[in-house]
Symmetry: C2
Subunit: 121 residues, 2 copies
C-alpha cells in the first residue's frame, strides 16, 4: 500500500466523520434532490455547510451535480454508483454504532464514575 | 430513534474520523499492547495525541486499559468485544475506500479540471 493510498482511506474516514456527510448521504440515498430539498431533509444545516459538504462529496466522486439550463436554473444532486458503495460502508458502521448505543452510553457512565472516584482519592 | 441515539451514532463517526483512531484500532486488533508499542506500531503520533485517542476509545468502551501493580507499573491496552465490533465496521468502510482509491483519485482530478476550465471561461 503506497502513501497516497493510505491517505485516501484516511480522507474517506475524515469525510464520513465530518458533521453533515452522513445525513446528506442518507438523504440522497432515498432519491436525487435539489439543494433546498436536501437542506429540509437533513434539517439544521446552514447553507454554507451544506454547500461545502456537497462539494467535497462531488469532488471525491460520491455525488453527481447536474445543472439544467432552465429558467430559473435547476440543480440536482444524486449519488453515483461509487457513492452508493460508500453508503453501504457507512450504514455498516452506523448499524454497529446504533445497535451498541446503550453499551456505549453505559461505558461512558462507568468511565465518568471511575474518573470521579479516582479524583476523590 | 431518539436524539441521544442519533448523537451517539454521529459521535462514533466523529471518533473514527479523528486522525489516529483507525491506526490505533488496527494496531490493537493484532494484539494487546503497551502505550509505547502502540506508538511505535502506529508511527508519527505524538504522545499527547495517542493518550487522547486511547482515552476516547476507553471512555466509549472500545478499549480496555489495565494497570498492573508492578515496579515500574505496566499499563496495557486491548480491544473489548465492542471494540472488535467497531473494527469490523471500520474495516468494511476502509475496504470500500481502499478498493475505490483510484476512482476517487480520478474523480478529484476531473473535478479540479472542471474547476479550472470554468475559471478560464
Amino acid at each position: 500500500m503506497t502513501q497516497p493510498d493510505v491517505t485516501i482511506v484516511r480522507e474517506v474516514f475524515d469525510l464520513t466523520g465530518a458533521r453533515w456527510t452522513v445525513p446528506v448521504l442518507v438523504a440522497l440515498e432515498a432519491s436525487r434532490m435539489r439543494f433546498g430539498e436536501i437542506a429540509r431533509d437533513v434539517g439544521g444545516v446552514a447553507q454554507k455547510q451544506l454547500s461545502a459538504t456537497l462539494r467535497e462529496l462531488e469532488r471525491d466522486g460520491f455525488v453527481e451535480r447536474t445543472a439544467f439550463a432552465t429558467i430559473p436554473p435547476r440543480v440536482e444532486y444524486e449519488l453515483t454508483p461509487l457513492g452508493e458503495e460508500l453508503v453501504d460502508g457507512v450504514k455498516g458502521l452506523g448499524a454497529i454504532a446504533f445497535r451498541n448505543r446503550d453499551r456505549i452510553a453505559s461505558a461512558r457512565r462507568e468511565f465518568a464514575e471511575r474518573a470521579e472516584s479516582s479524583a476523590a482519592v
